[in-house]
């Protein structure tokens, strides 16, 4: 998967390139709008991460040119300003997502993956299986090792989110937003408690743990693998 990152801030550009490369993407970094515009128009990428505020050609211009050329490459905007007008403008111009600086890298990664998944044909399946954990989506039932696990509605939603994005680190804010539609940082450790309770039902009776805490970043559901360090 090729990702174009247009970011003029040196440090941000560097860590975006490093982080995304280490997450397994091929990253091309443009450090100004002119280079970014040129790359966006001449090469093919699966996703673009554009900074809105660039000294020469801003992110909006780049995307406009892109859409005018009939290219539907998904675009994720990064901006330092958070105002409704900006958001609306970006989305009207055809941006696919919008992230306000400063953001957690895990959040960016999760959104990048969502966008890339969206551009691939969606998999419509009735069942998700991770190791011996099975989710029956229409009936909203979960079982592990053939043993039925009773979950509340929200617990099932949480497990479904983790399972659908198996192996991805999901930040707490993303979990709160996707499962409970709470789009703000709560002062409390609600998500940690919810995960702890889910874990008690999913993992406690089994030697192989599936739900993992990635310290400082969030949670992921994965078949345990000793080699991997977040």
């Amino acid at each position: 998967m090729r990702i174009l990152v247009v970011e003029d801030e040196l440090k941000t550009g560097d860590y975006l390139r490093q982080g995304l490369s280490e997450a397994g993407f091929m990253v091309t970094l443009a450090r100004n709008g002119l280079d970014g515009h040129h790359l966006a128009m001449t090469e093919v990428f699966d996703l673009m991460v554009l900074d809105v505020m660039l000294p020469d050609v801003d992110g909006w211009r780049i995307m406009q040119s892109l859409r005018e050329a009939g290219r539907q490459t998904p675009v994720l905007f990064l901006t330092a300003r958070d105002s409704v007008e900006d958001r609306v403008k970006g989305l009207e111009l055809g941006a696919d997502d919008y992230l306000v600086k400063p953001f957690a890298f895990a959040e960016l990664l999760a959104r990048v993956r969502t966008l890339l998944r969206r551009s691939v044909a969606p998999v419509l399946s009735d069942q998700i299986t991770v190791a011996d954990l099975t989710l029956d989506l229409p009936r909203r039932r979960a079982s592990r090792g053939g043993k039925k696990i009773s979950l509340s509605h929200k617990e099932f939603c949480l497990l479904e989110l983790l399972a659908r994005r198996e192996g991805e680190v999901l930040p707490r804010s993303l979990i709160a937003s996707q499962v409970w539609d709470m789009n703000f940082d709560s002062d409390t450790n609600v998500i940690d408690v919810a995960i702890r309770r889910l874990r008690a039902k999913i993992d406690d009776d089994f030697p192989a743990k599936l739900i993992h805490t990635v310290r400082g970043m969030g949670y992921k559901l994965e078949i345990e693998d000793d080699n991997e360090v977040a």
Partner: protein
Amino acid sequence: MKWLSRVKRRPLSLTTRVMVFVALAIGLSLLMTAHLVQQAVKRHFAEQDADELIVITQAVERALRAGADDIPRLPEVLSHAVSGHHGVYFQVWSPDGQLIYGPSDDELLTPVTLYTPVSRILAANLHSWGAGGNAYRGAITQTLISGRNYRIVAAMDMNFHILFLDNFRRSLWLIMTLAGVVTLLAAWFGVHQGHAPLRGLSDTMRDVQADSLHVRIDPNIVPGELRGLVDSFNYMIGRLEDSFTRLSHFSADIAHELRTPLTNSITQTQVALNRARSLEEYQELLYSNLEEQERLAKMVNDMLWLAQSEHGLRKPVWEQLDLGHEVRELFDFFEALAEEKQIVLALDGSTPMLSGDRAMLRRAISNLLSNALRYTPAGQTINVKLKKTDDAWVELSVENPGLEIPAEHLPKIFDRFYRVDPSRQRLSEGTGLGLAITKSIIEAHCGYIEAFSDDVATCFSIRLPLVTAGIGA
């Protein structure tokens, strides 16, 4: 010209206004006084004259009666009738219109032909006429003596009176003008003096600086009329001082709140770098740094959020929503946490749909709920009550049992970084901006928030208007 009327003119000065009114009043009353005095003097003269003319007429009548039988000698009798009177003239006319006695100058004949006789002389029916450069005043009477009807014309020289009146009028006007000028000067001085407390007040107000906001003006040292002004000024300064104090506390608090995580992070890093460590130790350091940095980022985000909403940069996105539904969603969110703390979340009542920003209101109520969850003892219940008050407002209250918040803290509880117990600063979660954000959200919705506390429970009460139409545009 149309534009001329648009030009805003500076209002007339207070002194000018007062002076115009005083001048009008004084002028009018002096004019009236002068007029009355003049009339009174004139009337007085007329009455004096009338008295004298009566005396003369009576004397003439007596003479006529005495000499009526001897008509040829009548003029001689009459010539002695009036003596001792100066500047007095009289004529006696026979019934057939012959002048029996008296000066026959043409001028003095005038009244007989002009005026009808009266039976009694009064000040009111005297006549004045001019003759030969002199002015006369007189009266004509008719008297029946021995069957004959005589007419008597009595008159007196009025030049003296006129001269006196002229002089009198001149002095009167001079005195009145002087009195007017003196009064106006006195009034001007009075007004000027009257404004002295105002100037003093202005000087005091000018001396108020940012560091002397504690200055208050004693309302008892100014005249009653200025009391309202002084009270308003004191009130204004009070509010200014309050927000100024809050602002400077706020700056100090920011510095303090930011310094703590920064110092932690710096010290940890310095200690770690002191000697070579294992990979795990470096990782541990990075994680620990990350936590502090996230704390900082969240605080800065919250502060930015508050600043933006205070400057109206963060406008609510209006939509119709049901508060009961939002509260239930939030209960759903906090359910796990509440259950773990063995706290029950209860909702009571409902409200009609109202317009508001869903995400903002969720955030506001969520802050109240997480606050309540933090302070409610295990096994107790947090009660959220919804109701529509009769005046088109909606009330949402979050009540939790727990320790009382002392009354002196209640008004400040919505201030940024304000903590009731300073010692638990680092222990409690959150940035200390939650309630400030809640308040700013409620105010963006044109609502109010209040906190109450007693030894049983603490209650946060939000009031939102049902009709916020017009704001949504």
